[in-house]
């Protein structure tokens, strides 16, 4: 067993877990934060993207023990109460989802993309940046529209959310 202390969505947590616990398993099973999804177990699909110390990573290939001392942000940490995060709101507005399985990872990746590229990001860049997130409903068109819209109306909102 290994003791892991970290902050998840701003709250400090400490848990004893098996050494082999993946970060995504820690979030979903130990903490009950099931918004982060497991698609492929191999870092290919992006459903498990969370932010570790402000950077988008795939939580299915990182151990919980490796997040010791880190700040983790998951999809559950984006909204302020009933107020959706602007990227979440844009996904709803532009129908950037069908079945919703890839959505948490898409949104967490998008928040990082907008933070890095700012409001002027173009569609080609968004599509390249989303290469690590797979949508099996093939809904990329509206996802890209949602990310672009969120970026345009943001102007620095992503930093505030971190």
């Amino acid at each position: 067993m290994v003791s892991v202390s970290l902050t998840v969505n701003g709250k400090a947590v400490t848990r004893e877990v098996e050494d082999r616990t993946l970060l995504v398993g820690f979030l979903r099973e130990t903490l009950g934060l099931t918004g982060t999804h497991v698609g492929c177990d191999t870092s290919q699909c992006g459903a498990c993207v969370v932010h570790v110390d402000g950077v988008a990573v795939k939580s299915c290939t990182m151990l919980a023990a490796q997040a010791d001392g880190c700040a983790v942000l998951t999809i559950e940490g984006l909204a302020q109460g009933d107020q959706l995060h602007p990227v979440q709101a844009a996904f709803r507005e532009h129908h950037g989802l069908q079945c919703g399985f890839c959505t948490p990872g898409m949104i967490m990746a998008a928040v990082d993309i907008i933070r890095r590229h700012g409001p002027g990001i173009d569609e080609t860049t968004i599509r390249h940046e989303l290469e690590g997130n797979i949508c099996r409903c093939t809904g990329y068109h509206n996802i890209v529209k949602a990310v672009k819209a969120a970026a345009e109306q943001s102007g620095g909102m992503a930093e505030a959310a971190e």
Binding site: L22, D41, T61
Partner: protein, 285 residues
């Protein structure tokens, strides 16, 4: 639980890490970025009894030097460090081009340069860079540090000169200074997938004539290959399309290309010619 049970160790110094892997031997694995090892463990293709996580070991990451003098890369340097290299010139341009082809952005935040070499996937971009440019690898163990040329390091698919008691700590890339042009072309079915074929080259051209050449290919055999004969052919030739086509044909004839579920040998041999021609044309442009 996806991976089989293992013990997790997190040393904070190189000496401590070396002592651990020496004691554990064959049953241990070093965890760097984990972007290949952890998926293999999730599918239980790899079942190490102990993981020695070197992410907390001080002094293993960072890039120093420049294009004119060559650079030193700490083994734990993340792929993402090459998105905007901390130096300029042809070597920086080449590495910044290559890194965009390694998997996806979140993976590049975790995966490491040294981890990629130690894993030795035949389609690894960094393996191709080190093999083609003639890198020197610095390998530490309890008995000291040894240097191994990239040409001697890669032994085959997922196989290197590393012993279980050793850690790759630093990689030196030789200079690629003013006057060199670089080219890289990779073909994969989807962006971020493993290369079905890729070529990397650097040319020094004076007055339209190639004076020096580096050329290597990856994803087509059990390891990245530096094409010394084709390099020798290129020197003294005019830097134009006919030369590049002849060089591509020469490489196609000399390599026994691999065949797998993703591509048959004929198709891969055809791709090989295409990626070489495109990389050479880019370097000459």
């Amino acid at each position: 639980m996806k991976p089989a049970a293992f013990a997790y160790l997190a040393p904070t110094t190189l000496a401590e890490a070396l002592e651990m892997i020496d004691r554990i031997g064959d049953d241990g694995k070093i965890l760097a970025g984990g972007q290949s090892l952890v998926p293999a463990m999730n599918f239980r293709l790899a079942r190490p009894g102990t993981l020695v996580d070197i992410n907390g070991v001080a002094g293993l990451s960072g890039i120093s030097g420049d294009s004119a003098r060559g650079i030193s890369i700490g083994a734990l340097t993340r792929h993402a460090a090459f998105h905007t290299p901390p130096f300029s010139g042809p070597l920086a341009d080449l590495l910044a081009k290559v890194v965009r082809n390694i998997a996806h952005y979140p993976i590049r935040q975790r995966g490491t340069f040294g981890g990629s070499l130690s894993h030795a996937d035949p389609a690894s971009e960094w393996c191709l860079v080190t093999a083609t440019l003639g890198a020197t690898l610095h390998i530490a163990s309890l008995t000291g540090t040894r240097e191994v040329a990239a040409a001697d390091f890669f032994r085959g698919t997922f196989t290197t000169a590393l012993q279980p008691s050793e850690i790759l700590v630093r990689i030196d890339l030789p200079p690629l200074g003013a006057g060199w042009g670089t080219g890289f072309y990779e073909f994969s079915r989807r962006k971020g997938d493993f290369a079905l074929a890729m070529a990397l080259t650097a040319l020094r051209i004076e007055g339209g004539t190639i004076r020096e050449a580096r050329l290597g290919v990856g994803g087509v055999a059990d390891r990245a290959l530096r094409l010394a004969k084709t390099e020798a052919f290129l020197v003294g030739q005019p830097a134009h399309a006919e030369t590049f086509a002849a060089a591509a044909a020469m490489a196609q004839d000399s390599i026994d290309v691999s065949e797998d579920i993703h591509a048959g040998a004929d198709y891969r041999r055809d791709l090989l010619g295409t990626v070489i021609r495109r990389a050479l044309a880019e370097a000459a442009a």
